[in-house]
């Protein structure tokens, strides 16, 4: 934990319930400049809801979200995105009729100024995700994993300051997971900050310096992966086995 780094995103007291279902209760955590934070938890623990609340897609019942000290709760989603806090969605969201190339173009224009380097960037990500041959194909015809990758590429290409990813690896081939892993590390080194929701334990371990665990809408634990995986409560809730038959938490 690099306690010295300045906080970029501070979430505190976040609460949200849907018709009596408490999806989030008093959740708080801090994302530090230049870090990669993992947000994990069993299914239905409130991870996606938290992301929705942070990025303005859902209005939380309570709590505060601060971006570099400024309160952004209640701001419209597009403004939050423009101020450098950009997300992907767990369920696939693409423009079915636009081409893969146009997706990246739109992201670039919406989120950052297009500059001389952006063509290279586009080319780079399409190549890395094996999507180059689909550059001029409408996104609607891609396979599930390919769509996931287009969505991810569209965020990475714009190099926003803070990137929030909701299960970026679901449905993605292991070969490409490697690429993503590397990419995130590079981008992080270059100064981007990440918050990643994932169920892939190896990936979380490899990428994240710090992990926040949610369970049933509450924060269950917090700390570096090595510590977290040893927490019996986390074992119970997330990994679904007893602490003692541990083998491949790596």
């Amino acid at each position: 934990m690099t306690a010295t780094a300045t906080p970029v995103l501070e979430v505190s007291g976040l609460g949200k319930s849907f018709l009596g279902v408490a999806a989030l209760q008093d959740v708080g955590f801090t994302l530090r400049e230049g870090s990669v934070l993992g947000l994990i938890g069993p299914n239905g623990s409130g991870k996606s809801t938290a992301l929705d609340c942070i990025t303005g897609f859902t209005r939380p019942d309570s709590g505060q979200v601060r971006l570099r000290g400024r309160d952004i709760s209640g701001r419209p989603a597009h403004q939050i995105a423009r101020s450098g806090l950009v997300r992907t969605f767990q369920t696939i969201r693409l423009y079915d009729e636009l081409t893969v190339g146009e997706h990246l173009g739109l992201a670039l224009r919406g989120l950052s100024a297009e500059d001389a380097g952006s063509d290279d960037l586009r080319q780079y990500w399409l190549e890395a995700f094996k999507l180059l041959r689909f550059r001029d194909a409408p996104a609607g015809i891609l396979s599930y994993g390919q769509k996931k990758l287009v969505a991810l590429a569209a965020v990475l290409v714009a190099r926003p300051a803070v990137v929030l990813l909701d299960e970026p690896l679901a449905g993605v081939n292991p070969l490409v997971i490697e690429v993503i892993d590397q990419a995130i590390k590079h981008a992080n080194e270059a100064g981007q900050t990440f918050l990643i929701i994932e169920h892939n334990v190896e990936f979380i371990t490899s990428c994240c310096a710090e992990v926040v665990v949610l369970d049933a809408g509450r924060k269950l634990a917090e700390g570096p992966p090595s510590v977290i995986w040893d927490d019996p409560a986390v074992y119970e809730a997330f990994l679904g086995r007893k602490a003692d038959d541990d083998d491949d938490t790596r």
């Binding site: 969605f89 919406g110 194909a137």
Partner: protein
């Protein structure tokens, strides 16, 4: 996976070969065709009857293109286009007959009043769901019809405003007057070209892509930092402006306006033109507007029989080309591209 690596280069080469070559056609786009058409038509048509058909066709072209911008590109199913058409017509008719405003200004004002109304309606509605938007715009149109019928001092009530003068523009010593139908057609074709050009500019600009993006997935567009409501509002207002002027011109051609301008008939026309043309495709919609205006004239049947035939054409057309003309063309292009992709790899 070396297979893939080596094929990749070929594939991209193939795709690039598919994209249009930078010829004159590329530089001017398809513009020479419509320009020639809209100049040629008023030039050669001498028979008042055909001039009438051509005027209707041009009105349909503008209405279709404006509705397409709204529905085909941003995905707003607005039933208020008819309202703006009527509002433009009423505003101009009133300004000319009651205030004697200089006509070019009155026509412009017709568009502006429509745009203003659209701003008010749009501010509250563009953020709503598709269903709510449809209902509110529909109710707005119906309400406009009631207002037009009731606000007798301005609109002339049920009777409307009639005996409108021929459009005439006096600029200093030069006096232009569109008295004869063929002079009028020049005016209309000039406006149609200008409107088409303006809307085409929006569609092909980067903004055009954003519009399609909003239609396809609004949440993603927001996540990419686009203020979707503002874009929707802007398009709503812009197409109301164009439609309002079209309404003014239409009304002056007929010399009368009454609350029946708000009838569903024109809405029907717009829907047919846009959907059979292919929502979200530009030129096919223009072609379909022309075809749809000309068609009735080739079918000299009893009114009802003609409408029955329209219905049949609609149904058959939709079953066989569900995406409309433009959609079918587009789909074919995609299929060809996919096939090439496949053959290359």
């Amino acid at each position: 996976m070396s297979v893939m690596a080596s094929s990749r280069r070929r594939v991209t080469g193939g795709l690039r070969a598919l994209s249009p070559r930078p010829t004159t056609a590329r530089r001017f786009g398809p513009w020479p065709v419509p320009i020639a058409f809209f100049v040629f038509v008023p030039l050669v048509l001498r028979n008042d009857y055909y001039i009438d058909v051509a005027s209707v066709a041009m009105t349909f072209v503008v209405l279709g293109a404006a509705f397409n911008l709204l529905y085909g590109y941003v995905g707003l199913l607005s039933f208020a286009q008819v309202a703006f058409f009527g509002i433009g017509g009423y505003a101009t008719a009133w300004l000319v007959t009651a205030t004697g405003l200089w006509q070019p200004l009155a026509f412009l004002a017709g568009g502006l009043v429509a745009a203003l109304a659209a701003t008010v309606v749009g501010l509250v509605t563009v953020r709503l769901s598709e269903g709510a938007f449809a209902i509110i715009t529909l109710s707005f149109t119906l309400l406009c019809a009631v207002v037009a019928a009731e606000w007798t001092s301005v609109t002339g009530g049920r009777q409307g405003i009639f005996g409108l003068p021929a459009p005439q523009f006096a600029i200093g010593a030069v006096e232009l007057e569109a008295v004869s139908p063929s002079q009028y057609l020049w005016l209309l074709s000039g406006f149609t070209l200008a409107a088409l050009w303006g809307m085409r500019r929006i569609v092909v600009s980067p903004v055009g892509k954003v519009l399609v993006a909003i239609r396809d997935n609004e949440a993603l567009a927001k996540a990419q930092g686009y203020s979707t409501n503002r874009y929707k509002l802007a398009v709503f207002v812009a197409s109301a402006f164009v439609t309002g002027i079209a309404g003014a011109l239409h009304v002056f051609r007929l010399t009368a306006i009454d609350p029946s301008v708000f009838d569903f008939y024109l809405m029907q026309v717009m829907l047919i033109v846009v959907i059979l043309g292919g929502a979200g495709t530009y030129w096919p919609v223009v072609v379909s507007a022309v075809a749809f205006a000309a068609l009735p004239e080739f079918l000299r049947l009893a009114d009802e029989a003609r409408l029955v035939l329209y219905g049949v054409l609609l149904v058959v057309g939709l079953v066989f080309t569900p995406q409309g003309l433009g959609g079918t063309l587009k789909e074919r292009a995609i299929r060809r591209r996919l096939r090439d992709l496949e053959e290359d790899s």
